[in-house]
């Protein structure tokens, strides 16, 4: 058993390692790569895996669950409100029109029963959140008009799954052949689905508010990264389990939990912790989809299946295009929007499962439609690839296209401040006083809570992780300020950022001179030593107390700071490399010595002639 788990894991991961890079190289996207990998290892090609593909698919559905949790995380009420027109308008219209068209097709065209037609119509109006979001992200389209609209429509669908799942049993009416009857409490729950769902949903809301948030605070205070990852996973799994127990879709529970956590300061941290799991599990899911394609069925009636795929996608595209037109989309964006959403999504699998269980459709038709859904999912990346390569270029020149992709400035701040201790917060306050808002990253949870109360956009997380920086929008920001309290972290960040985000202008805090040397070594030019200004200006006030004129002292102070900065750069270039053990002590003393020598030169070479004409005038 253990060996077979390892073997399966190896096969699946191996398939991903082989096919995903190839797919990406060919420009057809990773999703198709996973699916092709699945096909190749599946029972119809290399036969590495047999029918267990389906079991793996069930396990991998957890990737979909996580994806929905992460989508939920993105949806704080503000951004939901900002997108309300898109979500309700476009999403609602898409659902309505597609539903009606498919209903007409099934009811009148195929002569199915009323209830079955309704159930299937709703099922086929779903698009694939997993494929579309993955594609948007990969092709950097998430901020384009088409991308945003797709996201909104998918969101509406994802939310709509809740009532649809709840309503399916009602469609089955008396014909329900209840699955394995559960006893006791669970049995009661099965009989009262609607009440169960309501209870489950409200208990998640309560848990999110009163249990998860305080729990995460507690965990954060322990300052152990893996513990945080564990609690993030626990959160998602617990919710899924709870919803599963209630007989509701785990994915929806996770989505709900995500929405609840969206306003939490742990949002970015949760996001970056779960992202790798989600990516891997979704990959697994797509591979499983590939491996479960029933080629026997396809070989048996290829024309019928391809006709169905073509017809269904055409119907969906038609509706999408009309909806896009209603919402005044530019042709180019509308085509993209249409192609993005024209497939039938993974929720259809879940809904089909439910429909099969409720006996609304016989096994043969179910298999047929499952194949149709899978193939439409495969078609989707291919269509996008064709659009990108051949259609888009013809319709519109690249230049005007770029305008559409300009990032909405409201979505991200131009400035990210890492570390919001005394240094960072002073800076943040100053910027805010001048109407400049910054995105702030800090890993002191108490501080984060306090600042959020005061209206700062603060996120909890370790700024030296690219995932966190990504989530904070480093790819779109202009300036990154590093004001972390721990100097080693600042230096770590300087190396990381200049490597991963070369476009960012960097402003770095340095504890002291030695700290500044290391930052200079990492190519940072804007370095702000904590001590220099405060101590020199303190000197100004001391001179003033001794009777020196303030203005003159201030001029001298600014001269001195400039001299010191020059000396810093000069000494940094030809400083010795001691081995780290003796470095701090010995180097510091030697630096001090060289610095004093530099100071002597500075004093000797700088007679102050400002405003003093006495010597000149005395001569005439």
């Amino acid at each position: 058993m253990g060996a077979s788990v390892l073997q399966n894991a190896m096969i699946f991961l191996g398939a991903a390692l082989v096919f995903v890079p190839i797919a990406k190289r060919l420009g057809i996207g990773s999703v198709l790569g996973y699916i092709i990998g699945g096909v190749v290892i599946g029972p119809f090609a290399l036969k590495f895996i047999g029918t267990e593909g389906e079991d793996i698919m069930h396990a991998a559905e957890f990737g979909v669950v996580m994806m929905l949790f992460l989508i939920g995380l993105e949806l704080n009420p503000q951004s939901f409100w900002r997108m309300r027109r898109r979500i309700v308008g476009m999403g609602g219209l898409q659902m309505l029109f597609t539903g009606i068209l498919f209903f007409l097709f099934f009811y009148f065209g195929s002569g199915m029963e009323l209830n079955t037609s309704i159930a299937l119509a709703l099922t086929f109006s779903m698009s694939s959140t997993a494929i579309v979001l993955q594609t948007l992200k990969e092709k950097n389209l998430d901020k384009s008009q088409a991308g945003k609209s797709s996201f909104a429509v998918l969101l509406f669908q994802d939310i709509a799954v809740i009532p649809i799942l709840a309503a399916l049993p009602l469609l089955a009416l008396g014909e329900v052949q209840t699955k394995v009857a559960r006893t006791g409490m669970l049995g009661w729950m099965d009989e009262n689905r609607t009440i169960t769902i309501l209870v489950a949903v409200s208990s998640i809301i309560l848990l999110g508010r009163f249990v998860f948030s305080p729990l995460l605070h507690l965990i954060a205070r322990v300052h152990m990264r893996e513990l945080f990852t564990a609690s993030a996973l626990f959160l998602v799994i617990a919710v899924s389990w709870l919803m599963d127990l209630a007989g509701v879709s785990a994915a929806l529970g996770a989505f709900l939990a995500g929405v609840l956590m969206a306003n939490s300061e742990f949002r970015h941290e949760l996001e970056s912790n779960l992202e790798p799991f989600k990516g891997l599990l979704l990959g697994l899911f797509f591979t499983a989809v590939g491996s479960t394609i029933n080629f026997g069925l396809i070989v048996h009636q290829p024309m019928a299946i391809f006709k169905a795929v073509l017809l269904f996608m055409l119907l969906k595209s038609l509706v999408l295009f009309v909806v896009g037109k209603i919402f005044n989309k530019v042709l180019m964006q509308n085509i993209l929007f249409t192609l993005l959403l024209s497939q039938i999504g993974e929720f259809a699998f879940i809904l089909m499962g439910s429909i099969g269980m409720l006996g609304l459709l016989e096994k043969e038709m179910l298999d047929f439609y499952m194949a149709v859904i899978t193939i439409s999912m495969i078609m989707s990346p291919i269509l996008l690839f064709i659009n990108e390569k051949f259609i888009a270029n013809k319709i519109i020149s690249n230049k005007s296209e770029e305008k559409e992709y300009i990032v909405d400035p409201k979505e991200h701040n131009d400035i990210i401040i890492a570390g919001f201790g005394h240094f960072g917060s002073t800076l943040g306050r100053f910027l805010r006083a001048n109407g400049v808002e910054a995105t702030i990253l800090d890993n002191n949870s108490e501080q984060v809570v306090l600042l959020r109360k005061m209206g700062f956009k603060v996120f909890y997380g370790d700024a030296t992780r690219t995932a966190i920086l990504d989530a904070a929008g480093a790819a779109h920001a202009k300036i990154l300020v590093s004001a972390l309290d721990i100097s080693e972290k600042n230096i770590e960040l300087s190396a990381l950022v200049s490597k991963h985000y070369p476009h960012l202008k960097l402003f770095f805090r340095a504890k002291n001179r030695l700290n500044a040397y290391e930052l200079l070594d990492n190519g940072i030019n804007n370095i702000y030593r904590e001590s220099i200004h405060a101590s020199v200006y303190m000197g100004v006030d001391i001179l003033s107390e001794l009777g020196f004129r303030k203005y003159t002292s201030l001029r001298k102070a600014n001269d001195f700071i400039r001299h010191d900065n020059n000396a810093l750069k000069k000494l940094s270039e030809n400083r010795h490399d001691y081995d780290s053990y003796v470095k701090s002590v010995k180097e510091e003393i030697e630096q001090q010595e060289r610095l004093l020598a530099e100071d002597r030169k500075f004093i000797e070479h700088k007679p102050d002639n400002a405003w003093d004409k006495s010597k000149l005038v005395a001569n005439d």
């Binding site: 100004v540 020196f548 004129r549 303030k550 203005y551 003159t552 002292s553 201030l554 400002a610 405003w611 003093d612 004409k613 006495s614 005038v617 005395a618």
Partner: protein, 208 residues
Amino acid sequence: MASRKLLLLFFHPRFEDSRVNVKLTEGVKHLSGITFRDMYELYPDFNIDIEKEQSLLLEHDIVVWHHPFYWYNCPPLMKQWLDLVLEYGWAYGTGGNQLQGKWVMNVITSGGDFHVYQKEGRNRFTHREFLNSFDQTANLCKMEYLPPFVVAGANKLSEEDIEENMIWYQQILHFLMKEPIDLDKLKQVDNFNQIKSAEWEHPFYKTP
């Protein structure tokens, strides 16, 4: 009549090395009725408190700009003061009548003596001519621009000369604060240096 209140704004970027100005200010800064402001000491960072400066202007009747005459002009902080404090709509322009009727004058120290400050001299213009921009600044603010008091050849003055100038300076400020004055007559004078105290005191008394 009630005495006029005098605001003495002193601008010197390197006061510590100016023996003339140390002496001059010593003589006047403690006189009653005078508010003495050592501006470079108050605003070494040039960050002038505009509200404070404006309220001081409102509280006084006479403003004296006392400064060394570098490059035929005022030191940079004084220019900053003019730029920031004399706001549009407050000092000049629409509704800018806050300084209307107040008197203002320059007190300057210059390295060159009077003989270089004339048409045939090295500097080609007189002190008063160089000061025309301040005259017009006052005019735009509806203020009365008084003749300047010039301490010329400052670097070559002996201790006795400086002492004499200091007393002179005291007398002028006294005169401006206390006496009834015929302003039109006074404004015709090029500078205070041209008239000796015995002479100038008499002609400017307002005849009742």
